[in-house]
């Protein structure tokens, strides 16, 4: 079930909320159990058989976690930890990476190993990572003993289940154990609905429209059509915005939905395209994944504690594996590797640049533009189905596939159309007659996207402002009238555009 579907918004969510709060008045454990069952139903709506997989995974990790906590600091505890993490990774590899591994072997060794073609359970990367963190923290005695219901709810909680944020047990399970979420709160509803409306609008009104430009370009590139300069940039930038609005929209919806249940989820995005360097970008983009990779991969590898060379190697390993986590394809590894190189360059620059002067505004703008450009190039690998597609787009972006100009049917231009293709200027229209909406819409969309990304506060800042305003004795008129009216308008416009249900990009990861 998708957040941006009528079944979810008009059926699942109201029922889940009503029963949760009704049961919460009687017995909080019962309410938590209901929420867990509802979350499993939410997951099972997509594929009932994988509910068993999710249940088995949660039960296995819960009982392993308890056993590890009992033997924490001992050899048997370490062995248990290694064994249970290994089992989690085997499950993840079986479902997500087995065919990638087999096809890679077939490609390298010219063998013909049969692919398994197992359907990828949605969200497996997310629920595996949250549980690995739990196991490690049980060994470190950070995780205290939780009830199974709360643990199951932590793993399966539907707002985060299929595309994050990647939760840490210490920030979510104490909330389930407290009494606050089980009482309906108008304040939580007001903020939750506002954040949900913003997220839904980001996804339905903006991201899906950017997809109408990105998808035809990448599809044509995959089909071997040489992508010209303008089309390549349109495709790459459209995807850059699409991914941001899609994924941050999903995260906003998850945060807003959870807020309706009185549970606060961690933020996942903080205006990443406002970053002026790549290090900052990774502090703002998919923040919960960055946190996980730092705490459970980079630090255990040694972090920056074992010399400069080792630090570079650790960073690179972390980014390569981070790339692979996103999908079973070498293009994701290349994307991770590219960002690893960016980070190494950035760290190198940080160590040599003079720190005495604070950057000027033009300097900041230049740094921001360079960072954005680097990110756009990275997304080409992230989006492309294979290296041929990525190379095609990158060649187009650098002008090596020729330059197109808008097709003109009028006299002089029509003659030119026939006379000068040999100059490399091809009059085919800037998007090579791809099935994209009009140029005017593209310009409106790009300007809107740019304004929202660079000139507006992000959802988290809006939510924090609302929290502060609602906590004060006097709520300004703007927040009492204009903000809810705008949120209602966005919610309605998004609902009216939801006829064409589209999946969130991060579901595949």
């Amino acid at each position: 079930m998708l957040f941006n579907s009528y079944e979810f918004i008009f059926w699942f969510l109201p029922v889940a909320l009503m029963v949760f709060f009704l049961l919460g008045r009687v017995n909080v454990k019962l309410a938590a159990a209901w929420l867990a069952v509802a979350s499993l139903a939410f997951y099972g709506y997509w594929s009932p058989k994988y509910v068993l997989l999710l249940l088995a995974s949660a039960s296995f990790n819960y009982f392993c976690g308890r056993a590890i906590a009992k033997h924490a600091g001992t050899d048997s505890g370490r062995a248990l930890l290694a064994g249970s993490i290994g089992a989690d990774l085997v499950l993840l590899c079986l479902y997500k990476y087995a065919d990638f591994f087999l096809s890679s072997v077939n490609g390298i060794a010219d063998t013909h190993l049969q692919l398994l073609r197992i359907a990828l359970p949605i969200g497996i990367s997310f629920f595996t990572f949250t549980q690995i963190a739990f196991l490690v923290d049980c060994y470190k005695r950070i995780a205290r003993e939780y009830s199974f219901i709360h643990y199951l709810l932590f793993v399966s909680y539907f707002p985060h289940l299929i595309a994050g944020p990647i939760l840490h047990h210490t920030e979510i399970m104490p909330q389930f154990a407290s009494a606050a979420p089980y009482r309906p709160s108008a304040r939580s509803f007001a903020i939750g609905l506002t954040v949900l409306a913003i997220g839904l609008a980001k996804k339905v009104l903006i991201a899906d429209n950017f997809a109408d430009y990105a998808t035809p370009v990448f599809t044509a590139a995959h089909g071997g059509v040489p992508i010209r300069l303008v089309a390549a940039w349109v495709g790459a930038i459209a995807y850059t915005f699409q991914l941001y609005f899609d994924f941050s929209g999903y995260s906003d919806m998850a945060i807003g939905l959870s807020k309706l249940f009185g549970v606060n989820l961690p933020i996942n995005f903080f205006s990443p395209y406002k970053s002026t360097n790549i290090i900052e970008f990774w502090r703002r983009w998919h923040m919960t994944l960055s946190r996980f990779l730092r705490d459970y991969l980079y630090f255990p590898l040694g972090g920056n504690r074992k010399g400069e060379l080792r630090r570079c190697a650790n960073l690179m390993i972390t980014m390569l594996l981070g790339g692979l986590w996103h999908g079973a394809n070498w293009t994701f590894v290349a994307w991770g590797g590219l960002h690893g190189i960016y980070l190494l360059i950035n760290h190198g620059w940080e160590s040599v640049r003079p720190h005495s002067k604070s950057p000027t505004l033009p300097g900041k703008c230049f740094a921001g533009a360079m960072t954005f450009l680097a990110v756009v190039v990275g997304w080409v690998f992230f989006r492309a189905e294979d290296f041929g597609t990525a190379t095609n787009i990158l060649r187009g972006m650098t002008g090596f596939n020729g330059i197109t100009a808008q097709n003109q049917s009028g006299g002089f231009w029509a003659v030119l159309t026939h006379l000068i293709p040999q100059l490399g200027i091809i009059f085919e229209g800037t998007l090579e007659n791809m099935e994209t909406p009009g140029r005017f819409e593209m310009e409106v969309l790009l300007v809107t996207g740019a304004l929202l990304v660079w000139a507006m506060p992000n959802t988290q800042q809006i939510a924090e402002r609302l929290e502060a305003v609602f906590g004060s004795s006097h709520v300004p008129l703007f927040y009492r009238r204009a903000v809810p009216a705008l949120a209602g308008l966005f919610l309605a416009l998004a609902l009216l555009q939801m006829q064409k249900v589209s999946a969130f990009l991060y579901f595949q990861f």
Partner: protein, 334 residues
């Protein structure tokens, strides 16, 4: 806080209600309004035409079917129609399978059918993705498709998509009007304005079919066999005319697959096939074209109509002058 929530929910409800009201009033696809008069937006003529015929089919006994190329034709273009009363059932991007479904629906409602004139385009292919991309324009009337009516109407009125597409189209094509007449045919009020020799040259298309197109082309034969069977069962004439292409696109007829397809089409019994002269000067003069793919009536009147008229008036066993002799059928007048 309660005021905040009430304003939010009221604003959302009001916006949704306003959008539904606007969609119903404007009804850009002509889902609930009758398809008649000058329109600045391409309607879903499948829905409107079937809806009209559901209560008026007794006024007609013959049908012009096909895609948008056939939509400009009326009884007057067919010459001597032997006292038949034609309704133009052609719709945007239509195909023979949908035509068969629609005719079956009409037969099921007891509508009389004496002749069907089908325009066959060998250069237009609609796969599933193309159909779904144009779903509002191309959706079949639920009475024919059996689609749930709530789900069908919600696409047009519980979503702002129809209005968004309407305003987008008005912005991009402010002068692209069409006039619809009570008998279902339409006038296209746009034309190629460019008088350079390259106006039609810009229409140059592919000279051969791709693998996917080949598959879609041959899949149509099943539909033609079905309509030929219906012709036999319900005693009506079916005349299929192959849509002429402009000079720059007509090389497609030389594609071996197209030749093979046409040969198989000609071999289907109970169908009369009309093929226009390929080298006519009419096809290379941009004055005879609305755009690259849509010819003006002159082309049909001069290249196709005489043969169609001949088949309408006579048994198809007779050879027609000026066209490729092509049928093996034994259709009788009924």
């Amino acid at each position: 806080m309660r005021t905040y929530l009430s304003i939010l929910l009221t604003a959302a409800a009001m916006t949704v209600l306003c959008s539904i009201a606007a969609s119903l009033i404007v009804d850009p696809y002509r889902i609930v309004h009758r398809l008649i008069g000058e329109l600045s937006f391409k309607p879903n003529s499948r829905v409107a035409k079937v809806a009209f015929l559901s209560h008026s089919c007794s006024q007609y006994d013959s049908y012009i079917a096909g895609d948008s190329r056939s939509q400009i034709l009326s009884e007057s273009n067919l010459g001597d129609v032997q006292a038949r009363r034609f309704y133009n059932l052609a719709t945007t991007a239509d195909d023979i399978v949908s035509i068969v479904h629609r005719l079956n629906h009409l037969i099921g409602r007891g509508c009389p059918i004496s002749a069907v004139v089908v325009g066959e385009s060998i250069d237009l292919f609609m796969d599933e993705s193309a159909r779904s991309a144009g779903s509002l324009l191309l959706s079949e009337n639920p009475a024919v498709s059996g689609e749930n009516r709530i789900s069908f109407y919600s696409k047009y009125f519980l979503s702002a998509q129809a209005l968004v597409e309407y305003f987008r189209f008005l912005y991009e094509h402010p002068s692209r009007h069409e006039i619809y007449y009570p008998d279902g045919h339409a006038d296209y009020l746009w034309e190629m304005k460019d008088d350079t020799p390259f106006a039609l040259a810009a229409c140059r298309g592919s000279k051969t079919l791709g693998a996917a197109e080949r598959k879609l082309l041959f899949a149509k034969l099943g539909g033609y066999r079905e309509i030929a069977g219906m012709s036999d069962r319900y005693h009506f004439k079916t005349i299929v005319w192959i849509v002429p292409l402009n000079e720059w696109q007509s090389e497609l007829f030389d594609d071996p697959d197209v030749k093979d397809y046409l040969q198989q089409l000609r071999a289907i019994p109970n169908l009369a096939i009309v093929e226009a002269e390929r080298n006519s000067r009419l096809l290379s003069d941009f004055h005879n074209w609305h755009d690259c793919r849509h010819f003006r009536r002159t082309v049909f009147d001069q290249l196709v109509a005489p043969a169609v008229s001949g088949f309408l008036g006579h048994s198809t066993e007779r050879a027609m002058p000026g066209v490729t002799e092509n049928t093996s059928s034994g259709i009788d007048d009924h």
